[in-house]
């Protein structure tokens, strides 16, 4: 199944996440979470936790192992660290999404780009702020999904975040398979092409 038009949901939440900002919400089992890339090539860093057991969380490795592929596409089932389905990608107009590249941080930016980037805002700060507010903390931050981000791996293992393959109005839609707390960092990175060097707002809709 390849979606082509933006799903219309009976929205319980319909909001725009400002450029560079965090966001979180409960998504009930069976509800959809729609993320729309409003201006194009905006990486949306994403984690989720079981609402019933915060120790159960998205696992990139379990997800990759089960589908035997590093890319997330329509039909991908996002698994928890217990191996349970947390969400399914029910449709997306982007060919593939990333889950190996992780989240940018002030500290990793110093290694990637130099110490002049230490003070720049970063996804880990968004995730950490949101998790601390929700009663969690840094130990809950694990390898995440990067919706709309393009990370190819070449034959010799060289990998990197390269120019995006998303565009204005493209989207990804998930169905929650359990009640989840979805946490997003609308990526503020300005040192690589993951946001086209220009972080922009995205729209999120939760509904049925």
């Amino acid at each position: 199944m390849t979606a082509t038009t933006l799903p219309v949901l009976a929205a319980r939440i319909d909001t725009v996440i400002a450029a560079r900002a965090p966001w979180s919400a409960i998504v009930r089992r069976g509800e959809r979470l729609l993320i729309e890339d409003l201006e194009g090539n905006q990486a949306v860093d994403f984690l989720m936790y079981s609402a019933a057991d915060p120790g159960e969380r998205y696992s990139a490795q379990d997800t990759i192992a089960a589908q035997r592929n590093i890319f997330l596409r329509t039909g991908s089932v996002l698994l928890s660290n217990e191996g349970n389905p947390m969400a399914t990608v029910t449709g997306t107009t982007v060919a593939r999404h990333d889950t190996i590249g992780g989240a940018c941080s002030c500290e990793s930016n110093t290694v990637r780009y130099g110490h002049h980037t230490k003070a720049q805002h970063a996804c880990v700060d968004n995730f950490l702020e949101e998790m601390l507010r929700l009663g969690g903390g840094k130990r809950d931050l694990v390898s995440n999904v990067n919706w709309f981000m393009n990370v190819p791996v070449e034959a010799d293992g060289t990998l990197g975040i390269v120019d995006g393959i998303s565009a204005p109005g493209l989207f990804v839609c998930l169905r929650a398979e359990m009640e989840i707390t979805a946490v997003i960092s609308n990526c503020p990175q300005i040192n690589n092409p993951c946001n086209g060097f220009n972080p922009t707002p995205v729209r999120v809709v939760v509904g049925t």
Binding site: Q61, I100, E107, S108, V111, K138, S143
Partner: protein
């Protein structure tokens, strides 16, 4: 009347076991190892232990220590977690490890990076070349599906629950068990993102040596790779040997290997400025 019917009899029975050797066990003290690594004095040995099928271990190793892992019979698969021993909230980050080094495949000269932009460990020797940062380890469900059971109390323990026990013995919890690196079984990314498993069996005695760049908590589990297609629970012993060594020098070739590596080491130096 049995020999263990009273405390003295039970004590004698227990003490009669002393000196028993089995293939998979620690050597204590480590300096009593019959086969230390070449050039390593017995007095510098810190840890010597062989993990059998489903075995696990948790250990603190200081900055500069070396940890050699040997795949004794060609089917070891060691899942590895690393934490900063001083502040375990800093831990191995597999995404940063590959992203910051622009390289998905670990080998000699690779760093294992923390989530704080620092080198936790370097791979100073690698005769295997088949390792995996993508697939993680097995869990109770995957082992139950493949082998009929995956519990710690059963014959086919799963990697994640072994890592949970190891982390737990260091005061950490299930939530601290982060994405792992698998040593000795490889995953390559094929066309269009598909995983290609390098499952072996491999030649015996392949080995990897890590150098601790910070004071570390190391948690390891030796369980079949989660994608290992073999029907039987197939994993052979891994020998672990650690010895003390100097902290990495400023002109170390791994440190100077790339600008990213150099900055990860600068961040370690900065951390130890106290």
């Amino acid at each position: 009347m049995t020999t263990t019917a009273d405390p003295k009899g039970a004590r004698a029975h227990a003490r009669a076991m002393a000196g028993t050797r089995v293939p998979c066990m620690p050597t204590v003290p480590a300096g009593a190892s019959a086969d230390p690594p070449p050039g390593v004095a017995a007095s510098d040995l810190l840890w010597e232990e062989t993990l059998g099928a489903g075995g696990y271990a948790a250990r603190e190793l200081r900055r500069g220590a070396r940890l050699r892992l040997v795949d004794l019979a060609g089917d070891a698969c060691v899942s590895l977690l690393l934490f900063n021993a001083e502040r375990p909230i800093e831990r191995l980050n597999v995404a940063d490890t590959i992203k910051l080094q622009w390289q998905a495949y670990l080998g000699a000269g690779s760093l294992l990076l923390s989530d704080m932009g620092r080198a936790l460990a370097s791979i100073v020797e690698d005769t295997a070349g088949t390792h995996d940062v993508f697939a993680g380890t097995s869990n109770a469900g995957t082992n139950a599906h493949r082998y009929g059971d995956g519990s710690n109390s059963g014959p086919y323990p799963n990697g994640r629950d072994r890592l949970v026990l190891g982390a737990g013995k260091l005061g950490l919890a299930r939530r601290d068990v982060h994405p792992c690196v698998n040593i000795f079984k490889g995953v390559r990314v094929g066309t269009d993102g598909a995983l290609v498993l390098q499952a072996g069996s491999f030649a015996p005695l392949r080995q990897v040596t890590l150098r601790c760049e910070m004071n570390l908590l190391v948690v390891l589990a030796n369980c079949p790779h989660v994608l290992d297609p073999r029907e039987r629970y197939t994993v052979t012993p891994a020998r672990l040997t650690a010895w003390r060594g100097p902290a990495t020098a400023g002109n170390d070739p791994i440190r100077m290997r790339s600008p990213e590596s150099e900055r990860a080491f600068l961040n370690v130096d900065d951390y130890f400025s106290r």
